[in-house]
């Protein structure tokens, strides 16, 4: 699972009001190279929760992202160093084994072979 997906995922248990962001317990992280596309990153930037992304990247062992959300100007500028970092964090880091933890209930969603198991028990629906 990439961090772009983690940034979209929230806990879906009934009654949980603040199920985002899910904490990452990483056991195995792998990197896969993906083509760099600045247009896509600019398009996605508005939708990304920066704090959650920076924190998630840190828990995966990548601490290059700043804590505070950068200005839109940095994103639009021709300088690609920042976009490269964002690209790496969003699309190239994969959580292979580990777990996602709901911030409110502490419920663990295990991640196996890169697939998070988001199935809920009957009493959580």
């Amino acid at each position: 699972m990439r961090l772009i997906t983690h940034n979209m995922l929230s806990c879906n248990i009934k009654g949980v009001t603040n199920g985002f962001p899910l904490k990452i317990e990483a056991e195995k992280v792998i990197e896969k190279e993906v083509d760099f596309n600045p247009d896509f990153l600019r398009h996605m930037f508005a939708k990304i929760e920066w704090k959650a992304l920076a924190e998630a990247a840190r828990s995966m062992g990548y601490a290059e992202l700043p804590d505070d959300s950068p200005d839109a100007a940095v994103i639009e500028s021709a300088d690609e160093t920042f976009l490269r970092k964002l690209h790496h964090a969003l699309l190239e880091l994969h959580l292979e084994e580990g777990a996602l933890v709901c911030p409110e209930t502490g419920r663990k969603f295990p991640v196996n072979k890169g697939i998070p198991n988001m199935l809920l028990h009957e009493d959580e629906v």
């Binding site: 979209m8 995922l9 879906n12 985002f20 596309n37 072979k113 998070p116 988001m118 199935l119 009957e122």
Partner: protein
């Protein structure tokens, strides 16, 4: 298709390891899936500006439909309830991210982040109650409600469905409309029972433009097509009241009687002549 897989077992059990492998190694299914996903993407009508979009593939299975999305240069998340199917997808090294989840439990995604959703032959599974806790109506409601939330404004969702019956189709459409979606059904090859394919095209949060190109040049039947798009079918009331008689306390009045007499005369009946007594009210003491 003589037997429907939906009727045999729940999806997470039906698509076990052997069935998942069979599904993906059948060249016929692969070809059909590719064609369906191609068409679904076309109906999704993403803006053509070469910017990759972030799409959702609901019931992605082994990633056959996701491959088409990747070929078109978009990123995607796939959701499926069958772990075996997802394992096959991992083996095939699909590019999207995979989630093991049940769409009937709602999608746990943040609001407004997805640029579009497709689903190939999956939503009809929701119409079955596979466990005692399952209630198809509620599961459809949870699914469409959460989908509506996570789509960005103006985004579309395209579902290719095989509804079993008209009632099932109406159930799916009805729940989608209740969740706030606009849109309707697009039918390919309506004349053929085998090739016939139904696509549910839903738009989120904006005034639906023309659903398919055929609607563009037909201004006259705007009202009809709008009804079709909204999935509303005019059904006349079964026990409608008898022809309402326009009577009030005063009776029908002299004018009405005169008109009726004139009508009868024109038919050639023998009708008494009109006089000052015609349609005169009787005194109350009578």
């Amino acid at each position: 298709m003589s037997t429907r897989p939906e009727l045999l077992a729940p999806p997470e059990i039906f698509y076990d390891d052997s069935e998942a492998r069979k599904y993906t190694s059948s060249s016929r299914i692969v070809e059909i899936q590719a064609r369906l996903s191609e068409r679904a993407l076309e109906l999704l009508a993403l803006p053509e500006d070469d910017v990759p979009r972030f799409l959702l593939d609901i019931g992605c299975g082994s990633g056959l439909s996701g491959e088409t999305i990747s070929e078109n240069g978009h990123h995607w998340i796939g959701l499926d309830i069958s772990a075996s199917m997802l394992n096959v997808a991992v083996e095939r090294e699909v590019e999207g991210d995979l989630l093991l989840g049940d769409m009937g439990q709602g999608l746990g995604l943040r609001a407004g982040v997805i640029d579009g959703a497709i689903s190939i032959s999956a939503v009809q599974w929701l119409c079955n109650a596979d466990k005692s806790s399952h209630e198809p109506r509620l599961r459809l409601k949870a699914f469409f409600g959460s989908l509506y939330r996570c789509l960005s404004r103006g985004a579309r969702a395209v579902f290719q469905v095989y509804p079993e019956s008209i009632a099932q189709r109406e159930l799916i459409l009805g729940q989608a409309l209740k969740a706030g979606f606009g849109g309707g059904l697009v039918v390919d090859y309506p004349h053929s029972t085998k090739k016939r394919k139904e696509f549910l095209v839903l738009t989120c949060g904006s005034v639906p433009t023309s659903i398919n190109d055929g609607h563009k040049d037909s201004d006259d039947d705007d009202d009809d097509s709008e009804d079709e798009e909204n999935g509303m079918v005019c059904v006349s009331d079964r026990n409608r009241p008898r022809k309402k008689q326009r009577t009030n306390k005063k009776g029908k009045g002299r004018e009405w009687v005169l008109r009726k007499k004139e009508q009868s005369r024109r038919k050639g009946n023998d009708v008494p002549a009109d006089s000052k007594y015609t349609a005169r009210k009787r005194k109350s003491r009578f």
